[in-house]
Every structure is written in structure tokens, then in C-alpha cells.
Symmetry: C2
Subunit: 434 residues, 2 copies
């Protein structure tokens, strides 16, 4: 380990071990549930299984435009042996035919219309010719043909969505189809987000130029907006100086109102890094301190008064990575989200060699550039946890695992996308078509 600030870490825990050790050590209380209207439930997490109260469809209906028939009437029908049926009415979506189909009778029917009593199949328009109130059918139909049966989509009593599902637009639709107007979801976890450092100035107070040595604090905004994206409710815990009693007071007040606390800065092993001391002084436990990731080594995963407290490095890129690796899974756990998060990964060819130390999981910021051979991943900067622009310029991370010494130029790599859109940057002032 050449990094002097790290000298104090007895050992660095592998990221995956750190997370599982932490989540195992935490006594996580399930976040309580609340009822919300369906139109407000997008992105919320179901707090209970939803059982269908009714069949969907709740009646047999035509799956095609055509003629509702008794299949026994058209048995053996063919172009050489057409069957002639009498049209006794019409059924359209929302307008049922009231009568009952007798032998040799049919009803004009359009998609979605309820099947008339007595009918058990729909003959498609192309196999039927209508003339003077009668229709000539040239193809037989098996029972159930072109009919959506009652309960075909969902059966009453079936679990349609399981507890722990994040509600997507298609889920809201299926719930609506069942006549469900409210759902029980987990309350958004409240996370108190604070930043430590004598050099930090709150954006709201920042007047340019700043006094010498001062910088605008940016991690709270980054962490709070990242929390919003994953369904948590951030609480602004403000900025405190590198003073242990100030930090203790802030953490304490955060723990009173929040389900978890996230602190940025002051978590390393330098002289001014008093956050771990503050946590111990509050009677908290430091479960992991020092993780084998770069950037992001000084992450500390703690518990204070039975609640999770995560300390992220002050360097913005390190804080961002610590968030993805530890805060995000913690929120998933608090919300009891079912299943595992799927990252958005993009295949690309690496433009130049990326060296990496064994034993460390390295996060290399890359931009993705289109070429005739597909996407090229261009490393933006190998080091520099403090260089925030490397993050906003990046399209994604190339993650070099612990047991890999790096990647050669020309390697096929998977890039974890940081954005939904692959930006085409203007090159040399030329604006491309957007």
C-alpha cells in the first residue's frame, strides 16, 4: 500500500465481504408500511403480496373481430363445404349481445366484446363472407378458438405481485385492472445526510470567489439526489466542522429523525479525521473501516443506537463509489426489495491499457465513443478521487476486480453505465445532429 493515508488501516476488507459482513451485523428493522393511491405508487416497494380479487378478464371475450359461433355448428366447414349461419345480432367492446345463440345462429363480434351465451368460438373475418343477413363460414373452429377466456390473464386468488416488488408502470396497470385503488407500500427510508470539513462552504452561502482554502460542499447534493433516485427520502443534515463534539451532536440529531445516517468526509485515518472517533464516543460500533476499493478506501460502515451509519470519504468520486457499493444496497435492504439489482452494462473495446493493483477493486471512469467497430471505452483518468469532473464526463465505470491486474488495450470490457443516454460530445466545436 503506497498510500500514506492508508497506513493506519490494519487491513482493507474486500468490497463484497465488507457489504455482507455489514448487512449481517446490522439489526435491520423493516421499514413500516403506508397506504398510497395507485397513481402515487410508481417506484414504491410493495409491503405485502397482492392477491387478485377477481378474474381478468372477468368474462369470456372475443380475441378477434369476426363471428361468434357454436363450434359444433361449423364442424367440417371448408371452402368446398361452407356452413351458412344466420346473423342474429352484434356484440362490440362494452356492448354485450343480450340474447342466446341457438343452433345455426351467429353474432357479429369485435375484439374485446363479451362472448354471447351459447357461443364458444370466433370465426375470423377472412374465413367468413356476409350476405343478406347470413354468413358463409369456410373454416371450422375448435371450442375456445379466438376467445380470451375468463381468468386467462389473472385468476382470482392468484398472487399477482409479491411483497418487495418495486412498482413499475406495468404493475400499476395490472393492479388497476383488478380494481385496486390503493396499495400498501414501504415508507421511503429517511436518510440524514451530513458533510464534515473545515474547508467546506454551503452552496447556499457560497459567494465567488471563496476565501482562500475554502471549497463549495458538493457531496450532500450528490448523495441526496442519488437517494431520491433509489426511493429514499434524504434529510439535509448540513455541514459540520472537523470537531468531534459538533459531529457527535449532528449524528445524534440525525439518528432521532432518520432511519440511517450518511456522513461524507473525516472518515480516513488522518489527524482531522474524527468521524470514527465520534461514532465510538456515541457508543456505536465500527463494523468495517477500510475497504479494498479505489477510489473509496476510507469508507466506514457503522451502527449507532441500532441504526446504520455509513461514513463516505470526502473526495467526491470516492463518495460516489462508496454510495453505489454500500448505501444503495442498504436502502434496498431497508425497503426489503425483492431480488438483486441489475446494473446497466455496455460492451466496449478498451482504448488503452488500464493497470490496477491486485487485491484492490478499481473504478476507472471511462467515456464511450462510437466507432465503426462498435463502442470504444476511453479511460478518462486513472487516479484522482478528488476530480469531480471525471465523473460527470464519464459515461460509465470500468470495474477492475480484485484478482485482475488490469486490462490490456483492445480488451473487450463491460462498462457499468452511469447515464441513460450515450452522449455524443461535440468535437472541435462541430455540432452533430441530435
Amino acid at each position: 500500500m503506497s498510500n500514506v493515508k492508508m497506513k493506519g488501516f490494519k487491513r482493507l476488507e474486500r468490497a463484497d465481504n465488507a457489504l455482507s459482513k455489514y448487512l449481517k451485523a446490522l439489526k435491520i428493522k423493516v421499514i413500516d408500511a403506508e397506504n398510497v393511491m395507485l397513481e402515487d405508487a410508481l417506484g414504491r416497494v410493495l409491503a405485502e403480496d397482492v392477491v387478485a380479487p377477481i378474474d381478468i378478464p372477468s368474462f369470456d371475450r372475443a380475441a378477434m373481430d369476426g363471428y361468434a359461433v357454436r363450434s359444433s355448428d361449423v364442424r367440417g366447414a371448408s371452402p368446398n363445404n361452407p356452413v351458412i349461419l344466420k346473423i342474429i345480432g352484434e356484440a362490440s367492446a362494452g356492448k354485450a349481445f343480450k340474447g342466446r345463440l341457438g343452433k345455426g345462429e351467429t353474432v357479429r363480434i369485435s375484439t374485446g366484446a363479451p362472448m354471447p351465451e351459447g357461443a364458444d368460438a370466433v370465426v375470423m373475418l377472412e374465413y367468413a363472407e356476409e350476405k343478406d343477413g347470413y354468413v358463409e363460414v369456410i373454416k371450422e373452429a375448435v371450442p375456445g378458438e379466438n376467445v380470451s377466456e375468463k381468468g386467462e390473464d389473472v385468476r382470482a386468488g392468484e398472487v399477482v405481485l409479491e411483497e418487495g416488488t418495486i412498482l413499475e408502470p406495468q404493475d400499476l396497470a395490472i393492479l388497476a385492472s383488478l380494481g385496486i385503488k390503493k396499495v400498501k407500500v414501504r415508507r421511503r427510508p429517511r436518510v440524514f445526510v451530513m458533510a464534515c470539513g473545515n474547508e467546506l462552504v454551503d452552496l447556499v452561502h457560497a459567494q465567488l470567489p471563496l476565501p482562500p482554502g475554502k471549497i463549495v460542499e458538493t457531496n450532500r447534493l450528490m448523495i441526496m439526489s442519488s437517494l431520491k433516485k433509489i426511493g429514499a427520502e434524504p434529510i439535509d443534515g448540513g455541514i459540520v466542522g472537523d470537531d468531534i463534539s459538533e459531529i457527535m451532536a449532528a449524528i445524534s440529531s440525525g439518528l432521532k429523525i432518520a432511519d440511517a445516517v450518511v456522513i461524507s468526509g473525516g472518515t480516513s485515518v488522518g489527524k482531522g479525521d474524527v468521524v470514527p472517533d465520534a461514532i465510538l464516543s456515541l457508543g456505536g460500533k465500527i463494523i468495517v473501516h477500510g475497504v479494498a476499493i479505489s477510489p473509496g478506501k476510507p469508507v466506514a460502515l457503522c451502527e449507532v443506537k441500532g441504526k446504520p451509519v455509513i461514513c463516505l470519504p470526502g473526495y467526491p468520486v470516492a463518495a460516489f463509489i462508496g454510495f453505489l457499493l454500500f448505501v444503495r444496497p442498504l436502502i434496498d435492504k431497508l425497503l426489503r426489495i425483492r431480488g438483486i439489482r441489475m446494473e446497466k452494462k455496455i460492451n466496449a473495446v478498451l482504448s488503452k491499457r488500464v493497470p490496477s493493483k491486485t487485491g484492490i477493486m478499481e473504478f476507472v471512469r471511462v467515456s464511450l465513443v462510437e466507432s465503426t467497430d462498435g463502442l470504444i471505452a476511453e479511460p478518462i483518468r486513472i487516479t484522482g478521487a478528488g476530480v469531480l469532473s471525471s465523473l460527470s464526463k464519464a459515461d460509465g465505470f470500468l470495474v477492475v476486480p480484485e484478482d485482475v491486474e488490469g486490462f490490456e488495450a483492445g480488451s473487450n470490457v463491460e462498462v457499468v453505465a452511469l447515464r441513460d443516454h450515450l452522449r455524443r460530445m461535440r468535437k472541435g466545436g462541430k455540432e452533430e445532429d441530435i
Copy 2:
């Protein structure tokens, strides 16, 4: 084409051609801009380039804990030839050292602290030993070593974020670091969302059991929540019956208050499908009607009074796919989002053969199941545009392109993810660890 409802379509346009033809035909006005506070700008689209007003960092600062030195003083320093410097003070983050470093002098410095005047390098702690107010340096330092230079992250005058960027948490952070408190973003496009069909009942009025032949309308909720996810502002345009004058009135009122109109239902070529007629009667143009996708063929892409009007099929799965293929790119275009959307794709092995007609782009709903050999994609249902549960049960779509006749069992396929999490469904009532 065996599908009778499609008989009326003279030709089906390929999805990619349909979209480019449509976007080319539309005279899209750029959505106007508005200023928002940085903390409200998450997910919004920049309406102008942002130019850095200052350098970041705005001063040279230490990148490591150690001793600020004049590199000329430590030239040739080694374990056998240590250089001894006098400690004249201390600098920490936010607390600058006020004096100036003379020859043979040094200042204790911590990461992030401003470099004292005269110093041009930082010697790391491990190459220095402190004793009685002096420090022994055993390694030389080149000018700039362990120093983050003024402007290293961002230079004043540089474009840090381009117009058309969707603002992510890391972008808000870089803007904050520049002291920027407000940004100019595009107003959210307002989209009027209405549904057509005599069979439809508004969820808010739905009392179970519904009258025979009636179903709860679900597409508006699905479309409106999908619009929210991509940064648009949906306006609920309610339900209208299959009546041309009712539909015309609704579209007209939508066009008065919205930037675009999305209509679900009544867009095919059956008797009750009067939406295209309504559009023509309003003096609108139908640019594309009938797309070579399944489900979703009856999509109609129109322009009325200079504004985009998209007609989606009433069948929920078809409406969902039509939304992804046409409404989503339209919104991206209205917002002038820079670059192309990257889908989240997951590699999997197909569990069974999926047949598909050539010339049609087929969307097969699949669930992803973990196995020892990786993920298995299991088709949920090959057909059934009306079967909404196939969407909420799906983890993603397997897209069969127009020129592919299907995929064999065991093929390696890419699945377009419909969720962020790979759910592990309970099997046989056994609850797995979540």
C-alpha cells in the same frame, strides 16, 4: 399476414423507418426553458451549455497528507542522504498557512489544504520523519508532486456540461462546485393522455363486479407513469367512448394545453376504430399507420395542428411496446436530449424455441431465472397482447428483429430489462432470503 384486423393496413412500416419518418415529418418546436434551483434539477435536461466561471480547484492544494516543500530543497534526498527541513507551521483543509516558505523550510500539510506560498510539492508521510520541530526527508520530490493544481479538475471558461444533458447526481455536484445555484433546463413536456373505448371504466369509478362487458381502463395510468419516468408531465385526458365527435373534442382540448397527445385504443382498422378518422377530420396528418411490430401493429403516428399525436393500441402490452418505440423517443426529441438512449440489456440463454415471422419485429416477454450456468430466459407467452400479467411477470423483452425467423432453444440472447431488480420469485411457497 394472418391477422384479420390487419387486413386493412396496406403495408406495415418497419419500426425504425416509422420512427425516423415520423420525427422527420414533425415540425418539432424546442420546448421552452426555465430556471430551477440546483436541488430541483435532478433528471432535468440542460437547456444551455454550462461554462465554468472559475477554476476548480481554485487554489493549488495538497493531494496527500505530508509536508509541503520547495522541490529544489529536497533534490537528491535519499535514505542515505536525508535532507533536514525546519517546520515553520501547519496547513489543514480550510486552514491555510499564512506565511511564505523560505529555503530549508517546510509546513505540515493535510490533504485538501492550500499549498503555502513558495512550496511546490508535498512529501508523503512515509518518506519523512519528524523530530523536535525538524523533519528528515528521504526522497526527492518533483515540482507538482502530490499537489492538485488550480484548474486541474475544471478550468474557468471550459464547457463543463453540454446542452441536452440529463442532469445526474454527479452533474449537480460539479455545478455546485462551481458555485452555480440555478440552472436553465427544458420545461417538462406536457403530454395529454386519453383512452378510447365503450368498454372502459375509469378506475376511480370502478365498483366490483363491473357490469357485463366492462373492464377497468389501465393504459392511461401505465402511460402517465411511464411519462413521469422519462421526465415528461402527463395530463390526464380521461376516457372517451368510440364516438368520433367525442374523440375530436377530446383531442382538440388536449392540443390546447399540451405539447403532445397520446391516445390509447380505437386505432386499428375495425369498425369501432374511429381515432384515425377523428384525426383526419381535425385536419391532421397520419404519417404512419401500421407498424411491423408484434404486439403493437395498429400504432398510428400523426400530427394535428402542428403537434405530435400518437395513437397506441388499446391492448395493454401493445400500448406498452408502442410507448417504448415511439412515445419515448418523441419525448427525448422534444427535450432535445443529447445522445442515444442505452437500453439495459441482460445476457441469458433461451430456454425454448421462439418462432417469429420474418418482416415483423417481435417482442417476447421473458422471465429471467438464475441457474448454475447463468441466467435462463424463459418466454412467458408468445402471443397475447391483451394479457397484461405477462408484462408484470416479465423481467424483460426478448426482441426478435425483422430479419430473424426466431431463436432456437439454447441460443445466447440479449434481454431488454424492464426492471432494475432481478426478482427471485417464490417457488412452491418457499421464501428465499431477500
